[in-house]
C-alpha cells in the first residue's frame, strides 16, 4: 500500500530550483500509440555512457527482430539489438543531437514486420507478474545485460552495472517518475497506461540487487499517474513518494534529497549514500527483458510542443529518424522554430531530421518562435538571481565569468564540477546570459587541461 510522505526521511522537495511553465497539456491526454515500422533504422554504436558497442553484423547480412547486432566487451558498455526484420547496410557515421559523430549500423526493413497490434501486445500488453519466485538474482542481472538496457531517463548509464554487485552497500531502489522537464509526458503516460510493467520491473530490479526498499517518486502534478501506480502497487511493499512539483526534481541528487534526505557527495554517485536511482521507463524495459526475454528495441517517446501539429506519445523502434516521428505527428507547424531532443530545459537542439533516436531520448519537443527567448543579452547586474535558484548551491554568475575568461583556477574555486547543467540559472537570468553554455565550455577546458597534463 502506498504510504504518505510523512513516512519518508525527506520533506518531499529540495532547496532552490525554478518553476518553469509545465505545458504538459499538449500530449498528456494522448494514450501511447505504436508507430508503424519504418523503412530504415540507424543504430549508433554509442548510445550510452561507457565504451562503444562492437558491431557483430556485416553489410548485406539479414537480421531478425531482436537479433544481437552489437556486443559489449567492456563492463561499462551495452549490447545493441535490431528493432526490425531487415538487411544490414554499409556502416555509416551519424551525428547525434548532442553533436557527437558516431559510427552506426544501418538496417533496411525487409519482409514482413510486426503489426502495430503485435508490437503493442508483445511490448506492453498482457499480464505482468508481480512475483519474483523462480528467478535467480544473477539471472536477472544477466538478462538485463543481454537486453542492452541503459538508463532511459536520459543519462543512458548501463543498467546491469547499476544493478549488479557493487563495492558500496545499497539499501534503497529509488524509481524516478518525476519527469520534471516541461512538456514531456512519456513517463507520465507509461505510469498511467502500463503501471503493472513498472511495478514488475521494479520488483525484479530490487530482487537482483538483494535490497529491501523500493520507493517510486512522482511529482504531484501527475495525479492520474500516482493513482494508477498506487493501484498497481497494491499488495506489494513498494512505497510511493509524492513530491512537490519543482524543476529539477528529477535530477537524481535532488530526488534522493527530497525522498530520503541524503546528500550525494560532490563528484560522488547515489551508491555512495546507499541508493540506486532508475527511471520508470528503464523499469519497464527490465520487466520485458526478464519476463519476456525481449531486448531493448523500442521505447516510449513523447513528441510534443506548439510546433507539432498533433502531439503524441509513441512506442517507437530505436534508431528511427526524427523525421518519421515528426511526420507521424502531423508534421511541423508554420511557426515551428526549434526542434529539441529532450525537453526545453536540458534538451539539445538540432536541424538534421534524419538523425536517429537513441536509447536515452524520451522526448522530442518542438518550440515556436514565441516560445524561445528573444531578449538580447545584456550586462550581468550581479543581482544574484542565479545564486537564489541554483539547486547545487553554486554561484553561476561567477562560474560563467571564470569560464569566459578561461580562469580555470577561479572556476575550480567556485566548484564548477558541481554544476549539473540543469539550466535554472540561465532560465531566470534577467540579462539573458547563456550561463550554462559558458559553464559547459569551462568544464570542457578543465577536462582538456587535465588530459594534457
Amino acid at each position: 500500500m502506498a504510504l504518505k510522505l510523512e513516512q519518508f526521511e525527506g520533506n518531499g522537495t529540495f532547496h532552490r530550483g525554478v518553476h518553469p511553465p509545465e505545458r504538459k497539456h499538449f500530449s498528456a491526454d494522448a494514450p501511447i500509440e505504436v508507430i508503424p515500422t519504418p523503412k530504415e533504422v540507424i543504430i549508433p554504436l554509442q548510445q550510452h555512457i561507457g565504451a562503444p558497442s562492437k558491431p557483430l553484423v556485416k553489410p548485406k547480412q539479414e537480421v531478425a527482430y531482436g537479433d544481437l547486432i552489437g556486443d559489449n566487451e567492456a563492463f561499462i558498455s551495452a549490447k545493441l539489438h535490431s528493432p526490425i526484420f531487415g538487411v544490414v547496410q554499409k556502416m555509416a557515421v551519424t551525428t547525434l543531437p548532442n553533436g557527437r559523430h558516431v559510427p552506426a549500423i544501418r538496417i533496411k526493413a525487409k519482409g514482413r514486420q510486426f503489426t502495430d497490434e503485435e508490437n503493442y501486445r508483445e511490448l506492453m500488453g498482457g499480464r505482468w507478474s508481480k512475483s519474483v519466485v523462480g528467478y535467480d538474482p544473477d539471472e536477472v542481472t544477466r538478462a538485463i545485460n543481454d537486453a542492452g538496457i541503459v538508463g532511459l531517463g536520459g543519462a543512458a548509464f548501463p543498467t546491469h552495472v547499476k544493478i549488479g554487485p557493487g563495492k558500496k552497500p545499497v539499501d534503497t531502489l529509488l524509481v524516478n517518475g518525476c519527469e520534471c522537464e516541461p512538456y514531456l509526458t512519456a513517463d507520465d503516460r507509461l505510469m498511467r497506461d502500463i503501471p503493472d510493467t513498472v511495478i514488475s520491473g521494479s520488483l525484479l530490479s530490487r530482487f537482483a540487487m538483494g535490497i529491501r526498499d523500493i520507493i517510486i517518486g512522482i511529482e504531484e502534478n501527475k495525479p492520474q499517474a500516482i493513482a494508477s501506480i498506487r493501484k498497481a502497487a497494491a499488495g506489494t511493499d513498494i512505497k510511493i513518494a509524492i513530491l512537490k512539483t519543482k524543476y529539477p526534481q528529477g535530477s537524481e541528487k535532488h530526488l534522493i534529497k527530497a525522498v530520503l534526505n541524503r546528500v550525494v557527495p560532490m563528484g560522488g554517485l547515489p551508491a555512495d549514500v546507499g541508493v540506486a536511482v532508475s527511471n520508470v521507463t528503464t523499469m519497464t524495459a527490465v520487466a520485458r527483458a526478464v519476463i519476456r526475454s525481449m531486448p531493448l528495441t523500442h521505447r516510449v517517446v513523447c513528441v510534443t510542443g506548439a510546433g507539432i501539429v498533433q502531439p503524441k506519445n509513441l512506442l517507437v523502434p530505436l534508431g528511427i529518424s526524427y523525421r518519421e516521428l515528426i511526420k507521424f505527428c502531423g508534421g511541423l507547424t508554420k511557426d515551428a522554430a526549434r526542434i529539441l531532443s529532450g525537453g526545453p530545459m536540458m534538451g539539445f537542439s538540432f536541424s538534421d531530421l534524419d538523425m536517429p533516436l537513441t536509447k536515452g531520448t524520451g522526448g522530442v519537443t518542438v518550440l515556436t518562435h514565441d516560445d524561445i527567448k528573444k531578449e538580447k543579452e545584456t550586462a550581468c547586474l550581479r543581482c544574484g538571481r542565479c545564486v537564489d535558484v541554483c539547486p547545487m548551491n553554486l554561484v553561476p554568475a561567477r562560474l560563467a565569468v571564470a569560464s569566459k575568461h578561461q580562469d580555470l583556477t577561479m572556476a575550480e574555486k567556485y566548484k564548477i564540477r558541481g554544476c549539473v547543467e540543469c539550466g535554472c540559472c540561465a532560465y531566470v537570468c534577467p540579462a539573458s546570459l547563456p550561463l550554462v553554455q559558458h559553464i559547459r565550455v569551462g568544464k570542457a577546458l578543465i577536462m582538456a587541461s587535465k588530459t594534457n597534463k
Binding site: K327, R338, L353, R382, V395, Y427
Partner: protein, 336 residues
C-alpha cells in the same frame, strides 16, 4: 505542413516549402530553451522607478517645485551624459534599460532641493561618467553611481551641500524651513518628533524625509525581489542594535533609536541605494553582511564624525568591500 514535405526525397537537411511558400525556419541554440520573460534587466529598473513613486510623490508634496526641478535636472543630465558617453565609446544605445533614469531620479532625490542647477548637472555627469562608464558601463561599476556623483558635489560644493543648503526653502509647510532634523540635533541638540520623521514633514533631501514612503516603496521592491531583502534587513538590524545600545547607555536622551531609524536618508539608503545589485554582493550571506556593514558605518559616522549623516559614505565604503565579500561568502555546494 503536409506529410510529403518531410519525406526523405526533399533536401536532406532542409524542409521544403509547403504550398503557400512558407516553411518553418529551424534554428539551433543551447539549452535552456525557455526563459523567464517576466524578469529582465529592464523590468528590474522599471520596478525601481515604480517603487520610487511614493517617495517622489511625498517629495513633491513637501518640497513642491524645488523637488520637481532637482529631479528633472538630474534625470535629463543623467540621460544626456549616458547618451554622450555611449556615443564616445561607439557602443550600441542602452538608455532603454532605464538604468540611467534610475540613477538620475535617485540622485535628484538625494541632493538638497535648493541646490543650484549646476550642482545637479555636475553630480549627474560624475555619477554616469566616473561612477559607471569609466568602469565599463552597466554591470561593471564597483561603486553606486548616484553616490559617487553625490559624494563629488558634497565635497566640491561643501557650502551648498552642508547644513545651510537645507534652510532657505519657501514652501507652505513651516517645519521644513528649519534645519534638517539630524543637523538640528547635532548642532543644537534639538530633537524632532517621531511622527514628523515618519511621515516626512521635516527638512532634508527630497527623497529621504518620509520614512513611510521609503518603507512602502522598499517593501514593494523586496516583494518583487528586485531588491534583496537581506540588505535592508542587515542595515536596520545593526542600526537597531547600535542605536538601542546607545539608548541604554543614555548617551543621547532625546535622540532615540527610532529617531536614528526614521531620520536622515537611512531608510531611503537602505531600500533604494544599498540594494543596487551591481555594487552589492551576490550571495544571500554576503548581502546580509554587506547590509550589516553599512548599518555599522552609518552609526559610527553619525555618532563620531563631523557629518550629521553617514549613509552615503557607509554605502561607498561597503561597495569597496563587495568583491572581498563575494570571495568570502562562496556558498558550500550541495554534497560538499
Amino acid at each position: 505542413m503536409s506529410d510529403t514535405n518531410l519525406k526523405k526525397q526533399s533536401l536532406p537537411n532542409k524542409i521544403k516549402p509547403d504550398e503557400t511558400g512558407e516553411a518553418p525556419v529551424i534554428q539551433v541554440g543551447h539549452s535552456p530553451h525557455l526563459s523567464n520573460e517576466s524578469f529582465t534587466t529592464r523590468r528590474m529598473m522599471i520596478d525601481v522607478l515604480i517603487a520610487l513613486l511614493p517617495v517622489v510623490g511625498m517629495s513633491v508634496y513637501i518640497f513642491q517645485l524645488y523637488a520637481v526641478k532637482q529631479m528633472v535636472i538630474c534625470l535629463v543630465a543623467c540621460l544626456a551624459a549616458e547618451a554622450a558617453f555611449i556615443k564616445m565609446r561607439n557602443k550600441s544605445f542602452s538608455l532603454s534599460d532605464c538604468s540611467a533614469a534610475v540613477t538620475g531620479i535617485i540622485l535628484g532625490l538625494s541632493l538638497p532641493a535648493t541646490a543650484p542647477w549646476y550642482v545637479g548637472v555636475i553630480a549627474s555627469v560624475v555619477a554616469i561618467g566616473i561612477g559607471k562608464v569609466i568602469f565599463g558601463g552597466l554591470g561593471m561599476n564597483l561603486f553606486n553611481p548616484a553616490m559617487v556623483g553625490r559624494a563629488f558635489v558634497m565635497i566640491a560644493f561643501a557650502g551648498l551641500m552642508a547644513a545651510s543648503g537645507y534652510e532657505s526653502l519657501h514652501t507652505g509647510i513651516d517645519a521644513i524651513t528649519q534645519a534638517t532634523p539630524l543637523n538640528a540635533f547635532k548642532q543644537m541638540g534639538i530633537s524632532t518628533s517621531i511622527k514628523d520623521l515618519f511621515f516626512g514633514l521635516t527638512n532634508g533631501s527630497p527623497g529621504e524625509t518620509s520614512a513611510l514612503a521609503c518603507l512602502v516603496g522598499g517593501i514593494y521592491l523586496c516583494i518583487r525581489r528586485t531588491a534583496s531583502w537581506e540588505i535592508p534587513a542587515g542595515i536596520i538590524a545593526i542600526v537597531l542594535i547600535m542605536g538601542g545600545l546607545a539608548d541604554l547607555m543614555g548617551s543621547a536622551s532625546d535622540w532615540t533609536v527610532l529617531h536614528h531609524l526614521f531620520s536622515g536618508s537611512l531608510l531611503f539608503g537602505a531600500f533604494f541605494i544599498a540594494t543596487d545589485p551591481v555594487s552589492s554582493p551576490l550571495t544571500a550571506k554576503g548581502k546580509f553582511i554587506f547590509g550589516a556593514g553599512i548599518g555599522f558605518f552609518i552609526m559610527i559616522l553619525r555618532f563620531f564624525s563631523g557629518y550629521p549623516e553617514g549613509v552615503m559614505f557607509a554605502v561607498l565604503l561597503m561597495n569597496a568591500l563587495t568583491p572581498l565579500l563575494n570571495r568570502w561568502t562562496i556558498p558550500a555546494a550541495m554534497g560538499e
